[in-house]
Amino acid sequence: MTSSTTTQSVLDQPPLVQGGLDFAGVTQTVIGVVESKETPKIWFALFGVSVILLLMLLGMIGHLIWTGVGVWGNNVPVAWGWPIVNFVFWVGIGHAGTLISAILFLFRQGWRTGINRFAEAMTIFAVICAGLFPGIHIGRVWLAYWLFPIPNQMEMWPQFRSPLLWDVFAVSTYFTVSAMFWYLGLVPDIATIRDRATTPIRKLIYGLLALGWRGSARQWHRYERAYLILAALSTPLVLSVHSVVSFDFAVSQIPGWHTTIFPPYFVAGAIFSGFAMVVTLAVPARALFNMKNLITDRHLESMNKVILATGMMVGYAYSIEFFIAWYSGNALERFTFINRAFGWYAWAYWIMVSCNVLAPQVFWFKKMRTSVPVMMVVAILVNVGMWFERFVIVITSLSRDYLPSSWGYFSPTGVDIAMFVGSFGLFFTLFLLFLRFLPMVAVAEVKNVMDQAHPSHH
């Protein structure tokens, strides 16, 4: 048909797998990385730096436990300092993976297959980094298990009315389901590594991890079923986790924290920051391991569109908050927002607005959306901006509470900074190990969206 050729040229997107790869080519591209004896030198360099930072983090945690939380800058009135900022920052990043795997799956977005695997891995590692901060924030770390409602002879229970406790449940549920989802997707690909293994050690390890996968029709049938159910379970979790995190702030009466739009606004921000992190990692990873045929420019462009869309949602929330602060007629609300934009922390507020609202605007142009240097700059700016968003929320509201006599200016200590930097060490150590030893692209799923898998459509 002539009309279909014009349709394709004007409206349709390029195929999701480039470079003329067939099924075997896709397998080789991804599994070849795991099987290769040669690790790129830059991988070793990055891994070395990450492990050093991780060791620094561990040292700082030891220092903190030995000395006490006084080593942080937290103090009255800003009793929630960087640890909570970092917690919310990392949880937010941990939202992209599940959104890509679950919600984009339900939306039948074929392009998610190229990036879902390592977005999910990133999610899990980010949630680990996130869980660390409240864990060490509780003061007596050795009693952290009190957070769980374990029956005990003293009849002591956690405070069920506190959103901080809901966080424990929300984040641990999210972590469990994300990890299951990720592992379920990995099983067929791990079985492929097992089947291609040339050394007994590799055969043994990947064989154990493959859980006896044989790729029979019945197994695939059950796999697809489980995948759909996990996607449906994960979808509300994408909303619930960051909504509960937002409750930590919004149930309070502190101006700037107590506002009803917080739950959806936090979720949009989380997806925004998560996608920015996926782009930040995908661009170098695909170059390093030659994945450009699987993680194509189209994938990156689609992610940039999501960044633009969620950035606009975050901008919407900033604006509505500002408007309602005025409209409410509440003097304290009005003061808080004027103080954010023009007070002592105005620099942080404007970094937030520039990075989160202004920077993504360049993605209106296709040239910018598809330019690798531009998207790297924007993605990193968004990461910075989203950290500052949490900084603005936590610090500005606390540092200017109801009593001017207790007002203060928050300054982080060296330990604060070292721990935040160290959390990147933890994150990248795990992520680099994943890139090297597990298939970073979902081989079986990518094959499913290739034209060859749908011969009837030709």
Partner: protein, 409 residues
């Protein structure tokens, strides 16, 4: 669908018959009669009838406005994301969003009463009352008749403008099948969605939140939007099923499309619940008097039973009812939920607005029904008139075939 539709069948399935025009006249006649009868009673009836009329009318107006806004959102998002499955039902949405000019006309009485200084519906119209409270005094810059009219003019300009843009290009495509028209609509969709978000939010503030001028909630625009989308999907399910009863759209809107429409309905039942819960829980938990009074008033007397009814009928029961794929693919079951949720959406709007008038408890009035049916009759009558002027599906859309073929896994 067992076989592909021939050109003749396609034409027959997408063109309304002769009886449509008599139906449309009947609906218009009944609607106008109800509206005029109610208006006459409002002026001639006992003390307080006019205020009751204003509230019942405003709720009915908001009900049909929300559905129409949902249609505009759906068409915009269809082009924004380059959706394919929704192509066969998109025309129904385009016909629904053609109602904006009617809604503007229907809003004129309210606008006129604001201009006249009638503070029966919107308390803020009274300058004295605004001056008497310190909290309200600070809002005069926003809540005043002049700025209100400017805002309403902007809302309708945006809505009518984009609705016309999408509908007319889509109809033009029926004739020539030009792919560039789709490209053109996609190009404008991002701007449309931004302006849609802003106008819908502020319309929610103006039309519903400002009924209690002291009250504020940053999520209220999203709450109203959830109702818009939900009522749109339910109304589309009802409309397409009615068309199929009359032997139209058969083989064009299939169980696959109903399945997806059902998924969206389910999604917005959930989303509405999420937003409603967020709004309620945060206000309840923080317990600040400047916010909690809104819920206190809506739990007063018999209003609490309406609140519980909404919790059950708008969220918990339909959530359970719509989970299963069998329900979404079963015509009777899906129709049941679509009609139920449309009614629940009206109850939701009623619960938001009416406690301002009846503070002590629920007092149903004949106007609640007569004006809903009255506006509904005119709305449906003009919908049918628009539908007669063209096809019921965008048959030359580049993705029409793909949409016909599409299957849920």
């Amino acid at each position: 669908m067992a076989h592909a539709l021939t050109a003749d069948e396609l034409r027959q399935q997408t063109t309304l018959g002769e009886d449509a025009s008599s139906w449309s006249n009947r609906l218009l006649g009944i609607g106008l009669l109800l509206l005029l009868g109610s208006a006459a009673y409002a002026f001639a009836g006992p003390e307080g009838s006019w205020r009751q009329f204003q509230f019942s009318y405003h709720i009915a107006f908001c009900f049909f406005l929300s559905m129409t806004l949902g249609a505009l959102w759906f068409v915009t998002i269809h082009h924004l994301v380059g959706a394919k499955w929704s192509t066969t039902v998109r025309r129904v949405a385009e016909l629904t969003m053609g109602s904006f000019p009617l809604l503007l006309v229907l809003f004129l009485p309210t606008l006129f009463s604001v201009l006249k200084g009638d503070d029966g519906l919107f308390l803020w119209v009274s300058h004295e009352k605004m001056e008497s409270s310190h909290l309200l005094h600070g809002k005069i810059a926003f809540l005043n008749p002049t700025f209100f009219i400017v805002r309403v003019a902007i809302y309708f300009a945006v809505w009518i403008g984009f609705a016309r843009f999408f509908a007319s290009n889509s109809r033009a495509q029926d004739l020539n099948g030009d792919v560039m028209l789709t490209a053109k609509m996609r190009k404008l969709a991002p701007l449309a969605i931004i302006l849609f978000a802003l106008t819908t939010t502020f319309a929610a503030f103006d039309f519903l939140m400002a009924l209690e001028p002291e009250w504020f909630s940053t999520i209220f625009g999203v709450y109203f939007f959830a109702g818009c989308a939900l009522s749109f999907f339910c109304s589309t399910i009802v409309i397409t099923m009615l068309a199929q009863e009359k032997g139209r759209l058969q083989g064009i809107v299939t169980a696959e499309h109903y399945h997806d429409l059902g998924k969206w309905t389910f999604a917005f039942v959930f989303f509405w619940g999420y937003i409603a819960f967020s709004q309620f829980m945060l206000i309840w938990y923080a317990n600040l008097p400047e916010e909690t009074f809104w819920f206190r008033d809506r739990f007063e007397g018999s209003w609490i039973s309406i609140a519980v009814f909404i919790l059950l009928g708008h969220l918990l029961i339909p959530f359970g009812g719509l989970v299963s794929r069998h329900v979404k693919r079963n015509r009777a079951a899906l129709a049941f939920w679509a009609v139920t949720l449309l009614l629940m959406h009206w109850v939701d709007l009623y619960w938001i607005a009416m406690p301002v008038l009846h503070e002590k408890g629920v007092e149903f009035h004949m106007f609640d029904v007569s004006l809903l049916l009255g506006i509904g009759g005119v709305f449906a009558g003009l919908w049918l008139k628009r539908a007669q002027g063209g096809l019921l599906a965008p048959v030359k859309d580049p993705y029409f075939e793909a949409s016909l073929r599409f299957k849920n896994m």
